[in-house]
């Protein structure tokens, strides 16, 4: 079966150029960067060049501002615990729609004696910067608001929020795992103090990430017992992946204008096509302040996992912002935060487009998806047949074929 991948927000394939850049470090240049001999120095040099490249890709002032981690989650954990343990303040602010790596970690802090404020969002998933301002207290140690939401794609006004934090003298962290390499980021222009990212979201390898930490910010290390990463993160470095991530990022930034055009075109075509063909659906997230490849739609009366499974049987890989892979219990906190009711939240599917998607892919989805939705609605005890949204999709007998 020809398979169509539309889950680039979950992970992206490793691009060839990045793999090529990695290969020497998976083979002959195998030294441990901490070793002082030739093998070690060779690895160290390449790793430090990659670090410098990442620093310059995000507009950091100095390569030493980049701490390499094993994933985006670790970067988020390090930012939050690292800052909170260092500065002795008791209050942390985050949003209601953060990735679990942030929000679950903040919840744990809240259990361990810290206090947390969760800023709500509007129906589009936007955080109001003024709400952040009002939540800041004298004992606020950190504000952590994500850059782009992984489920609904909404892009937050982090520049404004960073400005408010600066004014108030509070450190600002942003989870840019979904945005780095996809929309322009310059840490100094934004005014972010800390910024998380993960290689596998921009065609780099899976299992590597990083945290930008502005010079002067101290950070209690979370992984201890090694002098690596200037004593801020112990453990022998994944040299090959660091190099792969740097390469992928460099290329993502170079190609960003073309890529954005490509993705937004496909995205808008897909959204329009689905709305034309399937009644009673709802686009989640902001109409324009949105990741270029993100399409998150709620399909009333049906549940997300069964949609995904049917898409998968048709060779289409997507993901659900509702049911998760590990059990259909609570629906997504993000979808609940934008005000969806439980059924609707459970009936949401995220299609996240990427570099290798084509117009043909979109057409294929538009061809098979209406039938899948119709079949599952037919099966749903919640579904009461409505009249057809668009006459042109109804067959002669007058019953709406998309509901069959």
């Amino acid at each position: 079966m020809d398979r169509i991948y539309m889950d680039y927000s979950a992970t992206s394939p490793l691009r060839k150029e990045a793999l090529d850049a990695m290969m020497p470090y998976l083979t002959e240049n195998f030294g441990n960067p901490s070793s002082i001999h030739w093998f070690g120095r060779t690895a160290k040099k390449a790793m430090e060049e990659a670090r410098a490249s990442i620093a310059s890709s995000i507009g950091a002032a100095d390569p030493s501002e980049i701490i390499i981690t094993s994933c985006g989650s670790e970067a988020d954990n390090l930012a939050i615990w690292g800052v909170m343990e260092t500065y002795g303040k008791k209050h942390i602010i985050t949003s209601a729609i953060e990735h679990h790596a942030v929000i679950d970690t903040v919840k744990i802090l809240a259990k361990e004696g810290y206090e947390a404020t969760y800023i709500p969002v509007d129906e589009y998933g936007l955080v109001d910067p003024e709400a952040v301002r009002n939540a800041i207290r004298p004992d606020t140690g950190l504000v952590s608001i994500m850059h782009g939401n992984n489920e609904i794609g909404t892009i937050e006004p982090i520049g404004e929020i960073a400005g408010i934090c600066k004014e108030k003298g509070v450190l600002f962290h942003t989870d840019a795992v979904q945005t780095l390499g996809h929309i322009p980021i310059n840490v100094q222009a934004i005014g972010a103090d800390l910024l998380s990212f993960a290689g596998h979201k921009f065609y780099g390898p899976k299992g590597i990430g990083g945290l930008y930490v502005r010079k002067g910010i101290r950070l209690e290390p979370q992984l201890t017992g090694g002098a690596q990463e200037r004593k801020r993160r112990a453990g022998t470095e994944n040299v090959a992946y660091i190099i792969g991530m740097a390469k992928a990022l460099e290329l993502a930034i170079a190609e960003m204008p073309d890529e954005t055009r490509h993705l937004t075109t496909l995205r808008d075509r897909l959204i329009k096509g689905l709305f034309e063909r399937i009644p009673e659906i709802k686009l989640n997230g902001h109409p324009t302040k949105r990741l270029p490849g993100n399409v998150n739609i709620s399909y009333k009366y049906v549940e997300g996992e069964s949609l995904l499974l049917h898409l998968d049987m048709n060779g289409i890989a997507a993901s659900s912002g509702s049911a998760c892979t590990s059990g259909s219990l609570e629906p997504s906190h993000v979808l609940m935060a934008i005000g969806l009711n439980h059924e609707t939240a459970h009936g949401s599917v995220r299609m996240s487009l990427g570099k290798y998607n084509t117009e043909q892919d979109i057409d294929k989805v538009l061809e098979v998806y209406p039938g899948i939705v119709a079949k599952l609605r037919e099966m749903s005890p919640l579904y009461v047949k409505t009249t057809c949204a668009r006459k042109e999709f109804c067959d002669e007998s007058g019953t709406c074929s998309v509901n069959k």
């Binding site: 998760c324 259909s328 459970h346 005890p381 919640l382």
Partner: protein, 150 residues
């Protein structure tokens, strides 16, 4: 994740739909968990002459509903009451652990349908008192692994 049997029932659900003027209707689940099942039955001489299901839910919810209608077609009320959710999961070749509690409720839905039938037709089946058919819709209290988004 799912066995081939589950996938088969998901692709080709058996006895999908609703019996008009059914002798009994059972519904279980709630939208918070994302699983709602409705089973309708036609009974003749203490035998399930027809069973149909409608399900809003994940793959496991659909497959358990579908296979229950298939397993119990033509069975007696007593046999149907002996069926457990565990049997259903076994018949499907197993379900992911986290689906066992929240999505495996089709036997319960069937029992509710039978209860409904017996309540409306007291004494229809000898020795079975509908008041003794107790289905605890407590799956939303169950602690399954929660989700991680990616």
């Amino acid at each position: 994740m799912y066995t081939d049997i589950v996938m088969d029932h998901l692709t080709n659900p058996r006895n999908m739909g609703e019996i008009e003027n059914a002798d009994g209707i059972g519904q279980i689940g709630n939208p918070v968990c994302g699983d709602i099942m409705r089973i309708t039955i036609r009974v003749k001489d203490g035998v399930l002459e027809d069973i149909k299901f409608k399900t809003f839910g994940c793959g496991a919810a659909i497959a358990t509903s579908s296979i229950v209608t298939q397993m119990m077609h033509g069975k007696t009320i007593k046999e149907a009451l002996a069926l457990t959710n565990k049997h259903v999961a076994e018949e499907l070749g197993g379900l992911p652990t986290n689906k066992l509690h929240c999505s495996n409720l089709a036997a319960d839905a069937l029992h509710l349908a039978i209860k409904d039938y017996l309540t409306k037709n007291p004494g229809a089946v000898e020795g079975v008192d509908p008041a003794n058919i107790i289905v605890k819709d407590d799956h939303d209290e169950e602690q399954g692994p929660s989700c991680g988004s990616i």
